[in-house]
């Protein structure tokens, strides 16, 4: 029912927006310091937390934050493209003041910085001085506060700053210590981490685990890891280049055909699939939460935000899960930047809200309340993060494990068609897992499909 109403509200909001742009009410009233302001935010998932919005509105009674959650592909694909092209066509201000952009789409948006306000040209006003945000801070001044590789995800290819990072995904291994023990494997988290210094060792461990499963379990696809496909993404994110190489141009150079890191990640993933360690349960499908509960798989490559999802979906497995370090060390999955579209009306108010919302103090609050890892460097020295232990994960020092992994990462050069290329390789691996094609045939088919893809052939 709640979903129904939420949908209705979205509908009302969008239709109101459409009407507004149709009637072109672009009159900008003169603003006084305390004139009521409404900041409109397009977000998805849990990027904007109601609790903190309430705090900000209490600090600034004249400000209303109106945030709407959309589907990620809708808000970062359809809606943002339409919004930007409408602005470029008409040059009329309107639409959202803040848009949350996920890293899967940042390759596209960093290549088109003209859709966003360059935050280097913004300065914080004195409105949040009492709340700890200094006045006169530009986007460039904020850079030093954030994890360097995470900050880069919000920098346009012309060096303009288009977004400020929210939380960090990170990536470590969530595992069922009870099932490891049952399979005769080491189950204490440091020992488990030592089982897999490399991805090949990770697969070896998986084979040992699967060997102990009963035939009845195997028939129901019980295995070691939920979906071997996640190994591919994890390995790629541990490097510095994926499908594009930074050659100094805005667009970058396409290297997906000959980047050895891609072939290596592909081969390792295929190896994992062929060795039978994958339960072939795609994440966020109906079978996935069932598997978390009934032990269909013992391992998930889990970003920090996913630990909250596991807790919510499998509450009865409390204490059976634990966290170990990921093979090779360091990993990331997901991450979001808050941006101000070039066509926003209340840019100054939006910037003031963003800089407060993403300041270390507020990120620390979000970590404590919702388990989201801060993107601000200072937070990792705070005992609340560094010493954090999670009882659901058998009191694992979650803060320390994820924190150390995040400091190891380096920025990755993305590119306009990253999403399309990612999907093509993902589908290629899926075909091998479903035994529709051999690995070699699927690799050839993937490259052939990409060479025909119009996103790539049109010079991106």
């Amino acid at each position: 029912m709640a979903k129904f109403f939420a949908k209705k509200r979205v509908l009302a909001a969008t239709s109101a927006l459409a009407l507004l742009s149709v009637l072109s009410i672009g009159v900008e009233p003169a603003k006084s310091a305390d004139a009521p302001v409404k900041i409109t935010v397009w977000s998805f998932g849990d990027v904007i937390q109601r609790d903190l919005v309430r705090q900000y509105q209490a600090l600034h009674p004249n400000v209303t934050i109106e945030y709407t959650k959309y589907n990620l592909d809708d808000v970062n694909g359809t809606k943002l493209i339409t919004q930007c092209s409408a602005y470029k066509l008409t040059k009329k201000l309107g639409g959202p003041d803040i848009v949350a952009v996920e890293v899967a789409y940042s390759g596209k948006w960093r290549a088109t910085p003209s859709c966003f306000q360059d935050l280097r040209k913004m300065e914080t006003s004195d409105t949040n001085v009492a709340a700890g945000v200094k006045a006169g801070l530009s986007g460039s001044d904020l850079k030093a506060d954030y994890l360097p590789w995470r900050w880069e995800q919000g920098v346009g290819y012309d060096d303009s700053v288009i977004g400020i990072p929210t939380d960090v995904g990170g990536l470590e291994v969530a595992y069922r210590s009870d099932l490891f023990k049952k399979a005769g494997l080491p189950f204490e988290r440091t020992a488990v981490g030592k089982l897999w210094p490399t991805w090949d060792k990770f697969i070896e461990t998986g084979k040992k685990y699967v060997a102990k499963l009963t035939a009845a379990q195997k028939k129901k696809n019980f295995a070691f890891i939920d979906d071997a496909g996640s190994i591919y993404t994890a390995m790629l994110n541990q490097g510095t280049a994926k499908y594009y190489e930074n050659d100094g141009t805005d667009a970058g150079k396409l290297v997906y055909k000959n980047n050895p890191a891609i072939k290596k990640a592909w081969d390792t993933t295929i190896n994992a699939m062929n060795s039978g360690i994958s339960s072939k349960t795609a994440q966020f499908t109906a079978d996935w939460p069932v598997g978390m509960n009934n032990g269909k798989f013992a391992v998930i490559l889990s970003p920090a935000w996913m630990t909250e999802y596991i807790k919510a979906q499998a509450p009865s497995t409390k204490g059976k899960w634990d966290i170990a370090t990921i093979p090779v060390g360091g990993g990331n999955q997901g991450g979001t930047q808050l941006t101000i579209p070039a066509g926003a009306v209340n840019k100054q108010e939006a910037y003031d809200f963003m800089t407060w919302y993403l300041a270390p103090a507020q990120q620390l609050q979000m970590f404590k309340k919702f388990g989201l890892f801060p993107s601000t460097l200072a937070s990792y020295k705070d005992p609340a993060v560094a010493d954090y232990k999670d009882p659901f994960f058998n009191n694992a020092p979650v803060g320390k494990i994820y924190g150390e992994g995040m400091l190891k990462l380096k920025p990755i050069f993305e590119g306009t068609c990253q999403r399309a290329i990612d999907m093509a390789f993902g589908a290629g691996l899926g075909r091998v897992q479903a035994k529709k094609q051999t690995a070699a045939a699927s690799w050839t088919a993937t490259l052939a499909a990409l060479s025909k893809d119009k996103c790539l052939s049109s010079g991106n």
Binding site: K88, A434, K454
Partner: protein
């Protein structure tokens, strides 16, 4: 007695007739209107004139903005290499040429047609059957049943997808548990091409069968009872009555339901998207439909011109399939009345 009655009737009618002939003939309503409007250009009759335009204007304004304008716009951009936030370049028919040579397009077309057939024809038979059951005058709680039939149609597609996702799950889904209990191997309703089409067609059928049944019911109730009475007097069985009275009476409705179903069915989008294979419709594009392909091209590959070309081809395909439908249903209905 009857003879007397008969003898009186003609005289009566002739009397009435003679009365009538003395009067001026009653003016036809059309003439009356014309005379009235000649005399009095204001008033209600003038609604057919300029005021009529005003009252129908809201629809046409909305249609112009949200209907015609996008159609014209997408027709134009189909001839361009159109990056919505970048450069625009006129390339003539190249998008269409590329599209006809693109095997992803033909695959999507094949998938769409297969899903359409699977979703349309069993559901057509089913909904006529449901309507025949609901028509039974001894049915208790008829209104309640009719209301229940409409519930799937007003349920959000996303909610439907979540529920069916649970039902069709490969390892723990209920349907697979039944299949396994019957001694058959488990079916992967996402990776297997035909099975995924069945899953999508099931969602569409579940959603639209009740709705169509109500349309058929309304049409059945409009068939005069006398036809059934005389058919049963002639000794027609229930099946023969259905075959030779009900079905011919439904001819126009079947055409209508089929054409509306074709327009919707060839644009199926939400069901394959929510089945869980991403925008490409599964790892080997096994359930990529035409509209899903359009969406993928526009919003994952940012090729608006190419996507618009897909949209234009969808329009033509819908027109062709609807025309074929129309011709076939006409012929079938004509044969059945013979």
């Amino acid at each position: 007695m009857t003879a007397i009655d008969d003898s009186t009737k003609p005289s009566e009618s002739s009397r009435q007739g003679s009365k009538g002939s003395r009067r001026k003939p009653a003016p036809s309503p059309w003439r009356a209107k014309k005379i009235k409007s000649d005399k009095n250009p204001g008033g209600l009759a003038s609604l057919n004139g300029k005021w009529g335009y005003l009252f129908t204007a809201p629809f046409f304004v909305m249609f112009l903005i949200f209907g015609l304008a996008p159609i014209v716009y997408s027709t134009v951009i189909a001839f361009f290499n159109w990056d919505p936030i970048g450069e625009v370049e006129f390339i003539g028919l190249k998008n269409f040429e590329d599209l006809l040579a693109d095997d992803r397009f033909w695959l999507a077309l094949g998938n769409t047609m297969e899903i359409w057939v699977l979703a349309t024809f069993p559901a057509l038979v089913g909904s006529i059957g449901l309507a025949a059951i609901l028509r039974n005058r001894f049915l208790r709680g008829a209104t309640a049943w009719r209301t229940v039939l409409l519930v799937p149609n007003i349920t959000s597609v996303i909610a439907v997808a979540i529920v069916f996702g649970q039902l069709f799950g490969r390892d723990f889904g209920m349907i697979n548990n039944v299949i396994e209990a019957l001694g058959f191997p488990r079916v992967d309703f996402i990776e297997d091409s035909f099975a995924s089409h069945v899953a999508i067609a099931t969602m569409i059928t579940w959603r639209w069968m009740g709705y169509n049944a109500l349309i058929f019911l309304a049409s059945m109730l409009a068939i005069p009872d006398e036809l059934y009475e005389s058919a049963s007097l002639d000794g027609a069985s229930a099946w023969q009555q259905f075959r030779y009275v009900t079905l011919p009476g439904l001819r126009n409705t079947i055409t209508f339901v089929l054409i509306v179903g074709t327009i919707g069915g060839l644009q199926v989008f939400a069901e394959p998207l929510t089945l869980g294979g991403g925008l490409s419709g599964g790892s080997s594009r096994q359930f990529s439909t035409l509209t899903l392909f359009l969406y993928e091209q526009a919003f994952a590959s940012y090729q608006w011109g190419y996507a618009a070309a897909v949209g234009i081809l969808i329009t033509f395909i819908v027109l062709i399939v609807s025309a074929i439908n129309f011709a076939i249903t006409r012929r079938l209905a004509d044969e059945s009345t013979r």
